[in-house]
Amino acid sequence: MVSEVRKNPNAVLRVEHLSMKFGGLIAINDLNFEAKRGAITALIGPNGAGKTTVFNCITGFYKPTEGMLTMTRQNGEEYLLERMADFVITKKAKVARTFQNIRLFSGLTVLENLLVAQHNPLMLSSGYTILGLLGFPTYKKAAADAIEKARFWLEKINLIDRADDPAGDLPYGAQRRLEIARAMCTDPELLCLDEPAAGLNARESAELNQLLLNIRDEIGTSILLIEHDMSVVMEISDHVVVLEYGTKISDGTPDTVKNDPKVIAAYLGVEDEEVIELIEHAAATGNDDITAAVDLLSSEAIHEIEVTHGEPPAASLVAAPVVKAKPAAAKPAAKAAPAAAPVKPAPVAKVAAPVKAPAAKTKSPAKPADPAIKAGATSNALAAPRGGKADSLIIIKGIGPVNERKLNEHGIFHFDQIAAWKKADVIAAEVYLAFDGRIAREDWIGQAKKLAKESQSKPAVKKTGGAK
């Protein structure tokens, strides 16, 4: 990937060709992005994608293996963060951070936490302790100012009443806010927040949104944040960067990222809104099968992950272009469903079902089905899917992507195969699936029969998916 990050005075932080390797493990691979001044940039991605590692590189806790991190301050000074010690980055380059697992000074009071953050200016005004020790008035004034600044932030985060309590005694949500306030007391120009909304409830994360917007708009601090709570990311960020396996897979405004098929496949799955709509819808129509519909939607998304990286690199390369096109189709389809008058959730599933098929298709050619069918196979096992195209078995409730793979390995590719299972077949299948009576309980055979019938009746629903 050619550096798409140009010299841009608007960028407070430029990350260019950043790579980080731990032994043989590549945590970040040639990452490029920039954080704009006065904006909130969100860094999202699946767990273990390397987001926190990026933070640790920016704030100097790790020295990157390769790459350049340029911080441009408001006064035009440029700092190459990869060459600086961690504490100098905060002191000189004015980058502050918070931590995923809160790192407050739990035995110090709330106020003291904020005073420690003002260490460097206070150190100066106390003449490196010596003048302060002798009681010079400059320090007294600086100390009073520091307390005022702390008071300002305490009022902002609504903790003024608890200023004299130990930080470790605060409830979790308050600790998160305090950590942000403490970072802000270092007067940063870039604030890096690592999962600030983790463990907060809906109300608290809404308050957090307000705080962050306030920091951006009133204090003018640029923010870079890692977050999994989409209500925070989508609501307040001006720019979203999506990481996966240490590389950038998407970059843009929240809206473009939200609708980026790669992001949906790798990270978002089907969106909450849709699930909520589904449930509300189901509640209205009195349908009890909501969970089934939701399960289906999410297991589908999981399957997509499998397709993109569950396989060896070669396979994912083949799969990539197809996947790019496909979930784009899947999503509008799902979205369209509630909009199109009172339709039951079940049809949503149906619409989604055939759309899934291409995914399965890409999978089978990439990894040819085992020619020698494994022992313990069921009576109607096939050596290869008919017409080279397998049905997406995960539509059957109870079959996940892993079990689908197992079934494929044992020569089961189509709904009608499962539909035709006899009792002995069920027992045989249960042996390699390591199940105990689940096939009967969840009525796989019944489901499969229904699905088999449907897939025969409408073979060309694929187009509906691309309609929007």
């Binding site: 704030t59 806790f61 961690d86 504490f87 100098v88 980055i89 905060t90 002191k91 502050a96 951070r97 931590f99 790192r103 407050l104 000074f105 739990s106 035995g107 110090l108 009071t109 106020l111 003291e112 005073l115 420690v116 953050a117 003002q118 260490h119 460097n120 206070l122 150190m123 106390s126 302790t129 302060g132 020790l133 320090y139 100390a143 307390i147 702390a150 008071r151 305490l154 003024i160 009443d161 200023a163 004299d164 309590d165 130990p166 930080a167 470790g168 005694d169 403490r182 970072a183 270092t186």
Partner: protein
């Protein structure tokens, strides 16, 4: 299992009885070979096995009885106290705080009048026995109490307060603190004997030398934490001692440096001659004035340590130390240079060790490597831990109890009546020291005063419970 909750007296005693039997059996198993048998030599120089069933029975009975009393009476009363404590009132809290203030003020006043109080009490005793006032004998008799108790305790108070900066505030476990004490002592001893420099000049120099050594030690060990730091500081302490022993040309090795000049009161020496202190003030000749002077000197030095510590805690550097103890990574994320912060902690702590060392040399008039063994470091650290890391008052109490207590043991001659004439109570000092430590640690795991006083406050100063503070990771 289900009736675990029933708390009737019967069940408590029954449970206690069971536990007592268990403890008895355990004691029997444990002491059967250790106490029950003893090898001895008979007249023919043969090894014989002596059976001591009586003693073994005593051991077992004591264990069982102790367990019974503990389970039947101590535990229930303690749970009651806990339940009662669960309903705290603002009044008791406020009381406790003012009580603490009174105690520290009273303690300080007592320290200032201590030598005269001792003289007065001894004179009163003299009066009670002989019916005549004689301050002179009180003055002579007070020597022991001022020197052995007053000065000795205060030296340890000062050392522990100095170490407290490193261990209690910055959370860096230092097992070689006595090295700085040694540096201070030898700085004074050598510079004063070779160059004839005065105590008042050498006192700050000794502190500076020790601080320099603190920095020299600090640099290589800064990246170490916890156990590793402890081991390296321990090694450093031993290295200093071995250098003192083996660098005989300068230090005279194990013979030590003797004839060290005494301290003077602004140039007035404490000598019996016409220019001496006693002559100038028209007092009868006595060694006790020097002791009283030394007492006030070390009191001043200790209070200086306390004052600096209290001031530093309100400075950015002191807060940075405490923050370092709580979380080093967070400190760095706030732009605090942890390297220099640790170094200043080491240097400041070492400096007070150096002051104490030069005082020690002036007091003894003689220094040898034997005074600076690892045990001293361990005792100082034990005082800091027992007192409650970071708490000046707690540490002072711990020093008084530990050092005063062991000194007191020397006085317990009457124990010879109990255990026979070949019993030497001093020999059991360390045993009792250890036992006392275990008891305190079980009773108060975070030391006498585990609570932390905040360095700044917005509305009111609330003590911070020890459950929130951390000990640091080195």
């Amino acid at each position: 299992m289900a009736d675990i909750q029933t708390s009737g007296p019967d069940s408590v005693y029954a449970k206690a009885f069971k536990e007592a039997i268990f403890a008895g059996v355990l004691a029997l198993g444990l002491f059967f070979l250790i106490v029950g048998f003893r090898t001895d030599q008979n007249i023919n120089n043969e090894l014989v096995l002596v059976q001591r069933w009586g003693l073994l029975t005593i051991f077992v009975v004591v264990a069982a009885l102790g367990r019974f009393i503990f389970a039947a009476f101590v535990v229930p009363s303690r749970t009651q106290v806990k339940v009662a404590k669960a309903k705290p009132s603002a009044a008791t809290q406020a009381d406790r705080r003012s009580f603490k203030a009174i105690v520290s003020r009273f303690g300080l006043a007592l320290l200032f009048v201590y030598p005269f109080l001792v003289i007065l009490i001894l004179a009163l005793i003299q009066y009670a026995f002989t019916g005549q006032w004689s301050f002179q004998s009180g003055v002579q008799g007070s020597l022991k109490y001022v020197d052995n108790f007053g000065i000795q305790i205060l030296i340890y108070v000062m050392l522990a307060w100095g170490l407290n900066i490193v261990v209690g505030l910055a959370g860096l476990l230092d097992l070689g603190y006595v090295a700085f004490y040694a540096v201070g002592a030898y700085s004074y001893a050598l510079l004063s004997t070779h160059f004839g420099l005065s105590f008042w000049l050498l006192l700050p120099m000794a502190g500076i030398f020790a601080a320099l050594w603190g920095i020299i030690l600090g640099f290589p060990v800064l990246r170490l934490r916890g156990d590793y730091l402890a081991i390296v500081t321990l090694a450093f302490g031993e290295i200093i001692r071995l250098v003192l022993i083996n660098w005989t040309v300068v230090t005279k090795g194990t013979f030590g440096v003797s004839g060290i000049a005494k301290a003077t009161l602004f140039g007035i020496p404490f000598t019996p001659g016409p220019n001496g202190f006693a002559a100038m003030f028209g007092l009868p000749n006595s060694g006790v004035y020097y002791k009283i002077f030394l007492y006030y000197l070390i009191l001043f030095l200790a209070l200086l340590t306390a004052w600096v510590t209290i001031r530093l805690r309100r400075m950015p550097i002191g807060r940075a130390w405490e923050a370092l103890r709580e979380d080093e990574i967070a400190c760095r994320s706030l732009g605090i240079n942890t390297t220099t912060t640790k170094l200043t902690a080491f240097a400041t702590g070492a400096m007070f060790g150096g002051f104490a060392g030069s005082f020690f040399a002036a007091r003894q008039g003689f220094v040898s490597p034997e005074s600076f063994v690892f045990l001293e470091s361990a005792i100082i650290l034990a005082i800091v831990v027992l007192g409650g890391m970071g708490s000046l008052i707690g540490i002072a109490i711990a020093a008084a109890v530990m050092i005063g207590g062991t000194e007191l043991l020397r006085e317990l001659e009457f124990l010879k009546l109990v255990f026979g004439n070949d019993f030497t109570p001093e020999l059991y000092r360390m045993l009792l020291f250890g036992l006392a430590m275990i008891v305190v640690m079980v009773w108060k795991p975070r030391g006498f005063v585990g609570n932390r006083e905040p360095s700044a406050f917005l509305h009111e100063r609330k003590m911070i419970s020890s459950e929130f503070t951390k000990e640091g990771h080195g």
